[in-house]
């Protein structure tokens, strides 16, 4: 009773008072700036933290859950695409997989497309890929059967599932195709039609052995195609010409002396390419076979044009992740083992900035450009 009286009093008082005594601040919601090439993303388990590498300032967050492999950007329509897999009770209950479309104007959720409940829950950049047509998003599934879900993000519908036994990792190529890496040492090329259905499938010759020297499951987009690097440091350039896969002869990142000193590439995110200048950055450490997950102590820089090492840089702390910006003059974003995010000039290797609190991490580093 007393409450009711008070609330009536409250309302009547309110309606009588229209001006505040002091001009007070307004609370607002910040605009989301238009992403530029100096931006990068730290994908953690519960959300992707977007930073500007120039200022070191966080720009906003895209929420998702731990299943999301990576953010696929579609800058053409100012959208981003991500896979989420939900259980009604967090770790139990009913499963529901969706492709979520983020409006990159304000980081709101624009739409959700139901997809088969098969998405792999692996934090790999190339377990999701927007094809060149900017229409079809491909999502890697594992149940453990391996397949790819194709989603039409313009018509906003699931377009079909393509069975891809023995293959994983999606490397978009051309307008409506992608390649995959297969466990038998081959690549697989799959082309789709406008309806998202498979129209062509090719298998390359076997060019590596998963037993003796597998390529990493972390391919890099180059100007021409994709770059693959093996555990022992052999580099393969792969591209597609008129629907035919071309795989280069391997060249080695390591000299005989390097090999004697046991240098190897490795780490959670050991490679990045700056496309404009055709530079490849590789995290290197000294260690035995099967140390491909070990952090790097140095980054070695290669010219892809000349297939030659053009520099190296030793870090003070072990480094787990590297990512190059695609600015004309690249920055190198670096996670060290203390969970600090370091920003280096990608040519001079001056330390430009340290982000002491990059959020929970280290997670996958990526950009908001199409392939990175």
């Amino acid at each position: 009773m007393r409450f009711l009286m008070m609330s009536l009093l409250c309302l009547s008082l309110m309606s009588g008072v229209v001006e505040a005594q002091l001009e007070a601040e307004q609370i607002g919601v910040s605009d989301f700036p238009v992403p530029v090439d100096s931006w990068f993303v730290i994908k953690s388990l519960e959300g992707s933290y977007i930073f500007d590498g120039d200022s070191g300032e966080m720009q906003g967050m895209i929420s998702h859950n731990w299943v999301t492999p990576a953010i696929a950007s579609g800058p053409a329509r100012k959208e981003a695409y991500l896979v989420e897999s939900w259980y009604s009770r967090g770790v139990r209950g009913t499963r529901e997989d969706v492709l979520t479309i983020i409006d990159m104007n304000d980081l709101s959720v624009k739409a959700e497309i139901d997809i088969p409940d098969k998405a792999s829950a692996l934090s790999f950049r190339n377990h999701i890929g927007l094809l060149g047509d900017q229409r079809h998003v491909t999502v890697f599934n594992m149940t453990p059967a391996q397949s790819v879900s194709v989603v039409d993000v313009i018509d906003r519908e699931f377009a079909g599932e393509i069975s891809t036994p023995g293959c994983a990792i999606i490397m978009p190529t051309g307008e409506t195709a992608f390649m995959m890496i297969c466990g038998d040492g081959t690549l697989q090329y799959i082309g789709i039609g406008e309806d998202g259905k498979e129209t062509v499938r090719e298998r390359s010759k076997s060019f590596f052995s998963v037993d003796s020297d597998p390529v990493f499951d972390k391919p890099m987009k180059t100007g021409e195609g994709w770059l693959l690097i093996s555990h022992s440091g052999r580099a393969f350039e792969v591209s597609v010409d008129k629907g035919r896969m071309k795989i280069s002869e391997p060249w080695s990142l390591l000299s005989d002396e390097d090999k004697e000193e046991n240098w190897r590439p490795g780490g959670p995110q050991p490679f990045t390419v700056h496309r404009n200048s055709n530079l490849l950055y590789v995290l290197m450490h000294q260690g035995g076979v099967d140390t491909h997950h070990d952090n790097g102590t140095e980054v070695w820089i290669y010219s892809l044009a000349n297939r030659k090492r053009v520099g190296k840089f030793e870090f003070e702390e072990e480094v787990s992740h590297i990512l190059s910006s695609q600015e004309d003059h690249p920055k190198l974003y670096v996670f060290n083992k203390e969970h600090k995010l370091l920003i280096y000039d990608g040519r001079l290797f001056r330390l430009l900035r340290t982000i002491e609190e990059p959020g929970p991490g280290p997670g996958l580093l990526q950009t908001l450009a199409h392939h990175d």
Binding site: E23, Q26, I27, D31
Partner: protein
């Protein structure tokens, strides 16, 4: 009484979303102090239209100094949470895509520039995963959870679409009256 229950949007919206919540809270204190609080409540309602404003455009009526990304910033004297200024927002603006809670609690902080006390509304920004940067745990004049209008232990995402907590902003409501 230096602590108040602040409501934003319109009373109508508040009623719709929270039922009689803000009024029930009235019983916390005596009738006299409720009326005092009510004064600020109206202020709050009047000044929190919650229109999206651009980062460079928010009104700055108070002369101040300090780093809004630091927990030592004077406005944060009673803030418990993570700082929106470290998350793509500012000290008084939620990060993109987050929703400011229209219901909040108020602290009183001394501005080092003019050495005056100001009422500060601590609004939680909601509907996104926790922004896990710049955690800040200040407790000047902060009170236990059974006195929610003064408690930073409460998750203030009420009247928002989701209860999920993202970060917290600190908005100057006005100068605190002498008796506060």
């Amino acid at each position: 009484m230096n602590s108040k229950k602040i409501t934003g949007r319109s009373l109508q919206a508040l009623d719709r979303i929270t039922g009689n919540g803000s009024r029930q809270l009235a019983r916390l204190t005596s009738r006299r102090s409720f009326l005092t609080r009510l004064g600020t409540m109206i202020t709050g309602a009047a000044v929190l239209p919650l229109l999206p404003v651009s980062r460079a455009f928010s009104a700055e009526p108070v002369e101040e100094l300090g780093d809004p990304q630091s927990c030592d910033y004077w406005r944060y004297c009673a803030l418990g949470g993570t700082l929106c200024s470290c998350c793509g927002g500012t000290h008084n603006s939620c990060p993109p895509g987050a929703e400011p809670s229209p219901i909040t609690w108020v602290g009183t902080c001394r501005n080092p520039v003019d050495d005056r006390d100001y009422l500060i509304s601590y609004n939680d920004c909601c509907g996104k995963s926790l922004c896990n940067r710049c955690w800040c745990g200040n407790s000047e004049r902060e009170r236990p959870v059974y006195f929610p209008s003064k408690s930073n232990s409460v998750l203030w995402c009420f009247g928002t679409e989701s209860r999920a907590y993202h970060c917290t902003v600190a908005v100057v409501l006005g100068e605190a009256s002498k008796q506060d």
